[in-house]
């Protein structure tokens, strides 16, 4: 029949006209490919699907957004392959929840972005997802589902995408020397610098727990190449300081500090990770510290005796590290002229830096699990062995040795005084 093609053309024209009218901002959508227009025919409307958890999820796709997406070129079925393959549109298929649907589609990204997906799977974000954390980000949480932008569009100062979860950190970053420089067009002290944003230090996809990454010191050094040399020129034991003291300790001068004593395997040269048995450090230490007020020197010593299920292990030590007490403060990095340069701020008795002490073990996903310890563990003779790997002259000195020094001075003076007095006595007797 000759009417077929004419009718078909007419219907297509009507469909296209209908689409153009339905999409509110359709002016820009001329380039959306025609198969996608079929999808948008329905999905540009305010369709909703009732999920099993009762939520009514919108199925509307903003054509303008999708048109600007970098995924426009692969079209709807580039990701929704199940629809392309299915004979029937799976609209009746039940969906447990919005989250469940996103998790199901998370690996869709791996079909093209295999490397990034592999990085993501090794990240703390993916570990949290596996742990059932409802807030842990999936691909679409950072990149969105349908308005996926090119990399340059991610601008942390403006808060996206990391600030969706890490708003407080983003705020601290924005005020830091890095954030300020970035806001001012990568200018610092009149010079162009490439100010880092979140992914420059933390990686975009392989986001790891900071405690498993040598606390990002190598990342700092990758830009601040001369920092090592600059520190070596004035800072005694510069290499040791740069290993045991976090950069932010001095370079975020307002930060609250703490000493973290991390369980460390010196043979494996890696932090100890607790097994998957879900027995937290707190549970394990309940027996040692029944009143739960933090480990005192004796309790810490007992803990080290129990580090290995088969008995004390000489391979497991406590590796001490001075660090900022919270992640937000770690991002308040100041200009180097404001950095703490006074050794006395740490190397004296009762220094604030040593009042807050924690003992930690890494969880299977690398995150730190901490337990409070009494600051006395840093000054007690009982801790000479258990905290053998951390010492700051003056700051964490053993008070017991001070008493011995006083005795030595008194004894040193007593010898001549006593001998002189003995001489007087004996001569008189003679």
């Amino acid at each position: 029949m000759k009417t077929g093609p004419i009718l078909g053309s007419l219907l297509l024209a009507i469909a296209l006209l209908g689409m153009a009218m339905a999409v509110s901002a359709a002016e820009d959508s001329e380039e959306v490919s025609s198969p996608d227009l079929k999808c948008l025919k329905c999905h540009s409307r305010n369709l909703k699907k009732t999920l099993e958890d009762g939520e009514k999820m919108s199925l509307r796709i903003e054509a303008v957004d999708f048109d600007k997406s970098v995924h426009r070129v692969i079209g709807c079925t580039g990701c929704h392959r199940d629809i392309a393959k299915a004979e029937k549109h799976p609209s009746r298929e039940p969906i447990a929840s919005r989250r469940a649907y996103s998790i199901k589609h998370n690996q869709t990204c791996s079909q093209c972005h295999e490397d990034h997906y592999a990085d993501y799977k090794g990240s703390i974000h993916a570990s949290l997802v596996e742990d059932g954390n409802e807030n842990a980000p999936l691909c679409s949480d950072c990149h969105t589902s349908h308005k996926i932008q090119f990399r340059g569009a991610f601008e942390p100062v403006n808060g996206e995408p990391c600030s969706k979860c890490h708003a407080d950190i983003n705020e601290a970053y924005a005020q830091s020397v890095h954030g300020s420089a970035r806001t001012e067009g990568n200018q610092l002290r009149g010079k162009f610098i490439k100010a880092p944003y979140c992914s420059d230090c933390h990686e975009a996809h392989e986001v790891l727990a900071v405690s498993t990454t040598d606390y990002l010191v190598p990342n700092c050094m990758s830009c601040h190449e001369v920092a090592k040399l600059a520190h070596e020129q004035w800072l005694p034991n510069a290499a040791m300081h740069m290993k045991s003291v976090g950069c932010a300790v001095c370079h975020a001068p307002e930060a609250e500090l703490r000493v973290n004593l991390q369980l460390y395997d010196r043979v494996q040269q890696a932090p100890v990770r607790r097994s998957e048995d879900n027995v937290t450090l707190q549970n394990k230490l309940a027996e040692i510290d029944p009143d739960g007020n933090g480990l005192d020197p004796v309790e810490l010593w007992k803990m080290m005796l129990k580090t290995d299920e088969n008995g004390p292990s000489s391979d497991i030590i406590l590796r001490g590290r001075l660090e900022v007490a919270n992640g937000v403060d770690a991002h308040r990095l100041a200009d180097h002229s404001e950095a703490i340069r006074s050794c006395e701020s740490c190397h004296q008795a009762n220094a604030e830096a040593f009042q807050n002490v924690t003992v930690s073990i890494n969880r299977p996903d690398g995150r730190k699990e901490s337990y409070k310890a009494d600051s006395k563990v840093l000054n007690s003779p009982i801790s000479v062995d258990s905290v053998g790997g951390f010492y700051a002259p003056g700051g964490t000195r053993i008070k017991w040795l001070d008493a011995l020094l006083v005795l030595a001075i008194v004894g040193g003076l007593a010898v001549p005084v006593g001998h002189f007095a003995l001489g007087k006595f004996l001569r008189r007797k003679k």
Partner: protein, 221 residues
Amino acid sequence: MNTTEAPKGAPKNQQHEKIYLHPLPVRIWHWLNAAGFLFLILTGFQLRYVDLFNLMTFETAVHLHNWVGFAVIANWFLWFFYYLTSDKITNYHPDLNVSNFFQRFFRQAQFYGQGIFMGEKRPHNVQPSDKFNPMQKLTYVFMMFITVPITFLSGLMMWDVERFSGLIALAGGIRVVNTVHVLMFIMFVMFMFVHAYMGMLGPKASTHYKEMITGYEEPHD
């Protein structure tokens, strides 16, 4: 060498009159060592007690302590190689007759405790090849071959913790190393008092001090 003959450089008026007890290298070592240790003790106090003393900044104290520490180590080697290559090494030879040694040791202790005040003769006859009495010998052997090297070694480890990290781990950690270093420091503080006082127990308070400057034994009677 004839013990009563003075070597070249000895003051002429003292030649053939007194025993040349302390050769020049030993005197140089002794006074450099004394000054060095006093300085190390001073900077050590500053490093350990920033909250109590303010003689200099912590940073300055660290740098001075390190430099003087290296100077004192070098000085120890001067002492060591001098004695190793000279006939004066006999001063540090152990007395193989232990019973005899301790008999003389206690006689010396008795002298310091009583005889010295009663005008008794000194039990030890000082000679250039055997100038230390048993109490001195035991003390100096212990100091020079045990405590001083331990102090140097522990100090070196703390000078560059990363460089010596293997050795530090072997010793039980930086806290153990520091505790050992501080225990040595405490001992040296006491030693300084006692040593300075014992130096005054000659015929006159200044006798032994003069000997350590001129090298010649001052007349004891």
